[in-house]
Symmetry: C2
Subunit: 203 residues, 2 copies
Amino acid sequence: MNFSSKLMEQAVEAFSSLPGIGKKSALRLVLHMVNQSNDDVASFTGALTQLKKHLKSCTECHNLSDEEKCQICSDSMRNQDTICVVESIRDVMAIENTGQFRGLYHVLGGVIRPIEGIGPEQLNIDSLIARAKKADTKEIVMAISPTIEGETTTFYVSKQLSSVDVRISTIARGVSFGGELQYADELTLGRSIVARMPYKIKE
Amino acid sequence: MNFSSKLMEQAVEAFSSLPGIGKKSALRLVLHMVNQSNDDVASFTGALTQLKKHLKSCTECHNLSDEEKCQICSDSMRNQDTICVVESIRDVMAIENTGQFRGLYHVLGGVIRPIEGIGPEQLNIDSLIARAKKADTKEIVMAISPTIEGETTTFYVSKQLSSVDVRISTIARGVSFGGELQYADELTLGRSIVARMPYKIKE
C-alpha cells in the first residue's frame, strides 16, 4: 500500500499487527480514528495503557484482575466451597455468562500439550492443590474442553487431587441443547447413550 | 458480558467502539494486547497518539499529510500539469497502488449529496478551481465513482471548470478486466458498446 503520510503508515502497521486485522481493515480503523475527536482517541489509547499498566493476575485463581484478588474471589456472597477449574480466563467469562455457577474459579493457564512443550509444571496446578487442601473446599469441578489434551489434563489434575479430601466432578458432556440427534457426532452420541441419566419429571 | 476486571471492560469497550468490531472480537484483541510486551503496547498507543497529534491536511490537495504539503505534492519528479480529482484519500491510495498515474491529486472530500446536506460549498471545489487556473495545469482528470451522486459531482465540477483553460477528462468506464461479459450489468455493458474504442494492435 502507498501512503502519502508516514504517520498513517505507522498507525496502519500498528493495527494490522493485531490478530485477524489485515491491511485494508487496519486502514479503515485508522481513517475512523482520524475522524474522531482528540478526546476519543486519548480515551482509547488511555484504556489500553491503563490496562497494560494496572492489570494483574489474581493471586488466588489466576484470573485477570484489577486488584491482588479478583472480583470473583473477593465476593463473599459466592459459594466458597466449590472451585471450577478452567483452561483460560475466556472460559471464566463463558461460564459467568451462563449465570449458572456461583462458586469460585481456578485458571490453569492452558492444557498439557507436550508437543508444544507445555507440561504440568507450566500450568497453575500446584496452587490448585494448595487451594483444594483448605478446609472450606468441598468440590472441584473440572471444566476443561473435551479434546484429547483437555481430557489428559483433566485426568492428570484429578489424579493429583486424589489424595486430597475433596469431591471431584466434571461438567456434563452429551448432545447439545437445540441440536438434532442425526447431526451429533458419533463419539458424543455414543458416549451420551452410555452415560445416560435418570429422567426427572419437574413438578 | 461479565468481566472480572474493570480495566478489561474499559479496553473491550474502547475496541468495540471501532467500526466492524463487535464485543467478541474486541475481547480477542484485548487479550492479545494483555499478552504483548509493555513496549509493544506503548508503540501501538504511541502510533495513534502521534497520528492524531501531527496529521495534517495537505494545503494543496487536501490529502492527509505529515507536513504542510503532502509527499505527492512536494515530489518534483511528478507530473505537475495533471491533477486527478477524487472523492477521498482512499481513492488516492487506490490509484497510487495501480502505479499508473504520475500526476498530482485533488481530494474533494466527498460528493454532492443534497439529501445529507452536502452541497458544493462543503467540498474542496474552490481550491481546485484556483489550482486549475495556475499556468502549469494542463489537464484535470475526473476520477469520481460512477454513481448517481458521483456523476452529478463530475458534471458540476466540470461545469465550474469550463471557463478555465484546461483539458477535462474522466477515467474510462466499461467492463472490468477479468470479468465475463454475461455477468456485467446492463448499464455498464450498454455504455461500453456505445463508447467503443478503436482497437490498437501492440507491436
